[in-house]
Amino acid sequence: MTETMTTVEEILERKSQSVVRDPELAPTHDIREALFELEAKGEIVVQRVPENHIEVKTKYGRTKKIPVDHTWHHKSCGQCGHIPGYTSSIFWLHRQFNLDYIDPTDQTSCTGWNYYASATSNAVAQAAVMIRNFAAAHETGYFPMIHCGTSYGHYKEIREQLVHHKELRDEVRRVLDKMGKPLVIPEELVHYSEWIHAMRKRFAEKQTVDMSMITATVHPACHYYKIVAEDAIYDPDIYGGQRTATVTGTLQSLGINVADYSTWFDCCGFGFRHVLVERDFTRSFSTLRKIEVMKNEVNPDVTVTHDTGCVTTLDKSQFSAKAHDRKVGIPVLSDAQMAALAMGAHPFRVVQFHWHSTDWRPFLDKLGINWQKYWDEFQGDLELIRSGQKSGITWQDADAPVVYG
């Protein structure tokens, strides 16, 4: 403090300091230490993060290792089923850096929706499904990377259950023994958006689409940062370390103006049970608590999030509110799609805008992207498939970035 500082200046200076957290004062245990202890007792196998990794900081100042490559991709049911551009963007980004990865064909659903919606499963079955997937990854030597935020949250909860309950581990081991697979838990549970966050500066180096005119709002996924909160990425340079850095950091690296709004911490409203049995609650919540508030307070060009359910709900509910003349109409994308688009990914072969419900054309117009041209190109692809000259669109068709002129 200097002699000339006023009280308000002192207060503002104190508040301008970013929070740097001391892991020694963390209120929760470090689950990874517990994993290594169990491994030392011969109870589990802990798969280590590959040598080529990037270190990030989590909520209480601990270091988390994010693998760069040599990853086994635990895909998302909802993404592959409803927003395939989300998945193809994740892989496209890996391919731009010639990163080594496996897109497995022996992966199962995480069955997290079962757990969160209906509780008709049981702890042993849920845990065994998770471990079976991790064992499949372990067999290849590639490290699991989880595409869906809900899978990620679900698996974090199961990890806690397995560490704290020997009887659960014994039952799961009994199930896995029938398949001849060991009880494997990876050293870190890694969500793909954490890989995107860790790689964001590399994406910015390859960015060819100027996004400085874009204002975006961020919706952070509950399953990412509220469930087992200590595992989420927090960065003193992003929100002063007060909110999770994932997604926002990526957008800021792409030169996008990220705007705040008064329901930032609200859930998207997907709701695993009520989206099935009372869907208008989902639609009301997502449009009235999130989209309409963003529209009124910020009027962003796009809303970006990092979970399957969130993209689905926020994008595909807006039609219902529009029918009631509510103030909606913000296109919704994942961070993967945004980063891919910024690097020149084809809007339809890779980003697959055509699967999105809310009108994305004004967004592409603002970016100066002649989407009609690329739509016609895509129609040409479909004609080749219809006529039997191609069986599908391949990576060969989609890998090369578009040079937008």
Binding site: L12, K15, Q242, D260, F265
Partner: protein
């Protein structure tokens, strides 16, 4: 053997311990790591003390004068403890001041290293202290009250609507600070009254889980806050503070009405609780005294009837170094610690 009492910390507890020990005939050395005495009330510019409404600078000045004016007390400023050996009656304490090391031989030690206010950036609640200029803490507000200039940091204007959020960093299982910090309800109510006096057009609300106004704080602070100064108390937890236009939007649950609520405010004051100071954590390690699970010095002795006893004979603790304390607690414990320290030296000398 030494007949000296070493007091570590020059805040209210340390000043009272030094004065009392000297009055009981002891020779005292008082160590203070800052360049001045007064501890947290001085460093954080407290305005009026809860509950006597006395000017904090004046009160600390009185405590400090009683020490600096006493020929049996040697004050060492900018001094920190670096090591300790020995036992009750005969401790050797290594200290350092500005790079110069010194070895002190003392018969008893009183730890009065105090507390620090909880940093709201560590909270799991989403209060956005580091994001929004108009979200401030009790200590930020104390300084403004002291100067009679309560303004919104965002625009320098007097706030019309101010909210206090209680229990920030306290009573929190997720955070690990499970305890109540004891004084925040009284301080917030005192500050609410001061705001209403300085800004008669303002509306002040306090959002609480329980209002803990024990003893005379009930009738001297809580009742006049409501009856005379029209402070609004709302029972309900605030979950988050966001921005809405140029105001703050606070969102929470109104427990009495059993419904969620959203209210806009010009300024939000976080009633941040107490944690062990960095000095308390360090001195515990250096002196080898036990800490409780929150990092405060473990006090109470066997049977819990000796609130100043630590795990090491001859080493005593007073004030907020042992846990949340109000000023009366700190001063009372300091007196007891001084008595125990002097008695322990006399016993050791008699036995030698």
């Amino acid at each position: 053997m030494s007949n000296k009492v070493l007091v570590i910390g020059g805040g209210p507890a340390g000043l009272e311990a030094a004065r009392s020990a000297a009055e009981l005939g002891g020779e005292v050395i008082l160590l203070e790591k800052r360049e001045r005495l007064g501890g947290t009330p001085d460093r954080e510019n407290y305005a009026k003390l809860t509950h006597h409404w006395r000017d904090a600078s004046e009160a600390m000045g009185e405590l400090a004068s009683a020490v600096t004016g006493n020929s049996n007390i040697e004050v060492k400023y900018s001094t920190e403890v670096k090591g300790m050996s020995g036992s009750a009656g005969n401790f050797t304490v290594e200290v350092e001041a500005g790079g110069a090391a010194e070895s002190l031989n003392v018969g008893a030690i009183i730890i009065a290293t105090g507390f620090q206010h909880f940093d709201p950036g560590r909270a799991t609640q989403y209060y956005n202290y580091y994001s929004f200029p108009d979200v401030i803490t009790l200590t930020d507000l104390e300084k403004m009250l002291k100067e009679h200039k309560v303004v919104r940091p965002s625009n320098g204007e007097a706030p019309k609507k101010i909210a206090f959020i209680q229990c920030v960093g306290s009573r929190d299982r997720q955070l690990g600070n499970e305890y109540c910090s004891k004084v925040c309800c009284g301080i917030a109510s005192k500050q609410a009254i001061e705001i209403r006096e300085q800004l008669p057009d303002s509306k002040v609300m306090i959002f609480y889980i329980d209002m803990r106004m024990y003893g005379y704080w009930e009738n001297e602070i809580y009742w006049p806050a409501q009856e005379k100064h029209k402070v609004n108390y709302v029972k309900g937890v605030i979950s988050e503070v966001l921005k809405k236009g140029d105001q703050l939007l606070i969102r929470g649950e109104d427990t009495t009405m059993s419904r969620p609520m959203e209210v806009t405010m010009d300024m939000v004051v976080l009633s941040v609780g107490m944690e062990p100071s960095a000095g308390t954590r360090a001195i515990a390690q250096t002196l080898g005294v036990q800490q409780n699970k929150y990092g405060f010095i473990e006090a109470g002795g066997t049977g819990g009837l000796d609130p100043v006893a630590t795990s090491v004979p001859g080493i005593f603790v007073a004030g907020a170094a042992a846990g949340p304390s109000d000023l009366d607690d700190s001063i009372s414990e300091a007196g007891l610690a001084a008595a125990r320290a002097v008695a322990s030296i006399r016993k050791a000398m008699a036995a030698a």
